[in-house]
Amino acid sequence: MPKNIETKPAQSLGFKVGDALWSNIFKKENAEQRSTLAIMKSVPIFTGMSKPQLREFIKIMHNRQFKKGEAIFYEGEPGVGMYVIQKGAVAITKGKGFVEKLAELSVGEFFGELALLDESPRSATATAVVDCQMIGLFRPDLFDLVERKPRLGNKLLFQLACLIGARLKRTNEELETVWARIEDAKVIS
């Protein structure tokens, strides 16, 4: 064994071990937070938010793990909030006897956002297709944030309004197309 290593003070070695330990813990936290931040940035309702603002949301969001086949929520239950998929995939289905699959969502996608506004029943059932990791934002926490930090809370509510507005516009366009087709069909018949 080389001489210089043998004579190294134990204390400095201890510090090195300690530093490595703490830096690893922080590195892990940072990596987790980084991945959460990256996923959140891809969600439209968090568009235009700075990192400190996103961190404020992380503080009030809940991490949840779901096993394959486990229900996240059922159709008809009162809505509480939205989920963003961090890992895994989620199936959105409708109906009890005959189950119709509406969509399969994957990492970075979100669902249940309308429940952030009111308690109306869930319009579909969400089930984990594989083992999933999700972050949830729920109405009581959001309303509490709106009271405590109105500027930040309103920013999210505005984004949510934009999202719903865009959806309404698209639905109207689709409705107009369908309506035009029905009118055409009437004329032909």
Partner: protein
């Protein structure tokens, strides 16, 4: 054995066994908590007081946070304001309170109280023959003696109450500062199936209770202040104590106001011996009650937590048996809490697929 199990499984609808087991566990836990109540009395009182205080102060901390101050500093600021107010109240109230304490203790220790009681009995006996019967007089004397003996232990109780107040303040500070984090951590332990339901239930219960407790305390404060002022104007002795007691007693519906008015009427009667002074105090308390029930309570206290009069009588008696005077005072708020919780939990069980 297997056959019995098979018959049970076949005859019961799915999920029933689990439901029965769950209710049995809830029932057992409830009885266990009730059985432990007297043992954990002081701890329980501190925790309940800290919860009430934090629910009371929460909007003030939120108001500071709303102005851009962080949570910790907001909690510190609210506590600093409270300490400041307590110091001011201490400065102003100490002379009045110490004067009242010394006159009350002097009244209890010397012969004057016995004389006063005798005087009261005589006056009552003159007007109502029932009070002049020897059996009633002996019974009253026994009660008065018992009351005087218990006044000595009151000093020890006051000291331990001060200690408990400090503990409650300490816990309240952390409830205010880290309440959200504590709630988030607690709720993270919930299984997925109960998670959303628990989240919304906790929110609904906390909102209703916060409103109820803030409302009750505000009404008590208004009634207490008005009673102190009215008794001061009517020149009734111990006006501060009696008025404050009336404010506290107001938390017990129906007979709380009566309990609050009784000491004032007795003291007024002892001092003057005139029916007119009793009438004046009764009119003052009646007016305050009318003002409270017509103009204050409907706008402040939530109707959703109202209890049936019979329930109130039963819970006040049970509270008295379990925790004494403090139990009587806490009985109605605690029952209201239980009512809100059961209503909300039953709503949750009906609306969420918990048992499937």
């Amino acid at each position: 054995m297997n056959e019995v199990r098979q018959i049970l499984t076949l005859s019961l609808p799915p999920g029933t066994v689990r439901r029965i087991a769950l209710w049995a566990v809830i029932g057992l836990a409830f009885f266990w908590i009730v059985a432990l109540l007297p043992t954990l009395q002081s701890l329980l009182v501190i925790l309940v007081a800290a919860t009430f205080l934090s629910l009371l102060l929460e909007p003030v901390v939120t108001l500071f946070e709303n102005r851009g101050v962080n949570r910790t500093l907001s909690s510190v600021l609210v506590f600093a304001i409270l300490v400041f107010l307590a110091i001011i109240a201490f400065k102003f109230l100490t002379p009045i309170v110490s004067q009242e304490i010394s006159s009350v203790s002097a009244g209890i220790s010397d012969e004057s109280s016995t004389n006063a009681m005798q005087q009261l009995q005589d006056k009552l006996g003159d007007n109502i023959p029932f009070f002049s019967s020897p059996a009633v007089q002996v019974a009253i004397k026994k009660k008065v003696d018992l009351l005087m003996k218990s006044s000595l232990t009151m000093v020890v109780d006051i000291l331990s109450a001060i200690m408990s107040m400090f503990m409650a303040a300490f816990i309240t500070f952390f409830f205010l500062k880290d309440g959200r984090r504590i709630k988030k951590r607690l709720i993270s332990w919930m299984p997925n199936r109960y998670f959303e339901m628990s989240l919304i239930l906790i929110h609904r219960i906390a909102t209703q209770l916060g409103r109820y407790i803030r409302g009750q305390l505000l009404v008590s404060l208004i009634v207490g202040s008005m009673s102190v002022f009215a008794l001061y104007l009517l020149d009734v002795r111990y006006y501060f104590f009696i008025g404050a007691l009336a404010g506290l007693a107001n938390m017990i519906p129906y007979f709380g106001p009566l309990v609050g008015a009784m000491p004032a009427i007795i003291v007024a009667f002892l001092d003057t011996g005139e029916v007119g002074s009793i009438a004046a105090v009764a009119v003052a308390f009646g007016s305050i009650q009318m003002f409270e029930s017509v103009l204050v309570a409907p706008y402040i206290v939530s109707k959703s937590v109202e209890l049936h009069p019979l329930t109130i009588i039963l819970v006040v008696l049970t509270g008295g048996k379990l925790l004494g005077i403090f139990g009587m005072l806490l009985a109605v708020p605690v029952s209201s809490i239980i009512k809100v919780m059961s209503v909300e939990i039953s709503w949750g069980l009906q609306n969420y697929r918990v048992f499937d």
